[in-house]
Symmetry: C2
Subunit: 108 residues, 2 copies
DNA sequence: AGTATATTCAACCATATAGTTGAATGATAG
DNA sequence: CTATCATTCAACTATATGGTTGAATATACT
C-alpha cells in the first residue's frame, strides 16, 4: 500500500461532502469572504474555514487576501480534473444508449 | 447536521478511493467475478469484496449471480450522476468566464 | 497605542471507514 | 451427503475526518 495520494482522491473526497458542494454552488455566482460564507451555515466559523481549506487543497477554490479578509473564488482546476476522469467512462454509457437507440431503430 | 445522505455523497466518496477507481478501470474492459478481481490486489478477499459493495451502493457497479460466483459489471448510473453534477460547472471553465449564475439551476 | 474584526491554529472528541481474521452461508462437484 | 469453492458477515483495530472550543495571528478603526 503506497503512501502517495492521487489528486483524484483529494478532489472526489472533497466533493463527497454536502456542505462543501453547497459552498461551491454559492461560489458559482460570486466570490465571498470566509466569514460571509460561514454566516450561511449552522456551523462554527472554524468548521467552515476548514471546509474551505479542504476545497483549496483539491484546487476547487482559491483564496486571496483582501485587507483582513480572505476572498474565496472558484478555481476550475479540480473540477476539470474530475471531469477529465469521468470522460473515460462517458463513451461507455453513451455507447450503451446508442446501442439501445439502434435497437429501437431496428424494431421500427 | 442533516441525517440524509445524498446519492452524490455516496458516489463521490466511492470514487475517492484509488483501489475502487482501479476496480472500475478494469471493469471498463470486461466483467469479472469478485474472486478474479480480488486476486489482482494485495488485499484480502474480504477487503476487495467490501470495496465492491461500496461501488454497488453508489450504483457504479452491479452484481449478478452466476453459479457460485458473483459477476461484477460496470453500471453507468452513478457515473452519469457524477457527470451531470459536474456539467453545472463545465461552462465556467469552457471559455464562458462571465458570471452566468442567474440562470444556472441550483442543484446541490 | 489599544480595541475590534477576520481568519487560522491546536487540542480534543465522536464517528466513519479501510483493513484484518475467523466463522457462516450458498452453490457445485464427487 | 460431504467436501470444496466463492462470497459475505461479524467483530475488532487503526486511522482519517467533521465537528467543537479557546488561544494565536493579522489587519483595520479611532
Amino acid at each position: 500500500m503506497v503512501e502517495y495520494t492521487s489528486p483524484l482522491d483529494t478532489i472526489f473526497s472533497s466533493l463527497a461532502d454536502p456542505t462543501r458542494r453547497d459552498l461551491l454552488r454559492r461560489l458559482r455566482r460570486q466570490d465571498y469572504s470566509v466569514g460571509e460564507l460561514a454566516q450561511r451555515y449552522d456551523l462554527t466559523f472554524a468548521a467552515v474555514s476548514k471546509h474551505i481549506q479542504v476545497l483549496e487543497r483539491a484546487n476547487l477554490v482559491r483564496k486571496h487576501k483582501r485587507g483582513r479578509e480572505q476572498r474565496v473564488e472558484l478555481s476550475p482546476g479540480g473540477l476539470q480534473q474530475a471531469d477529465k476522469y469521468l470522460e473515460q467512462y462517458r463513451a461507455l454509457w453513451e455507447g450503451r444508449l446508442d446501442r439501445l437507440g439502434t435497437f429501437l431503430e431496428d424494431k421500427k
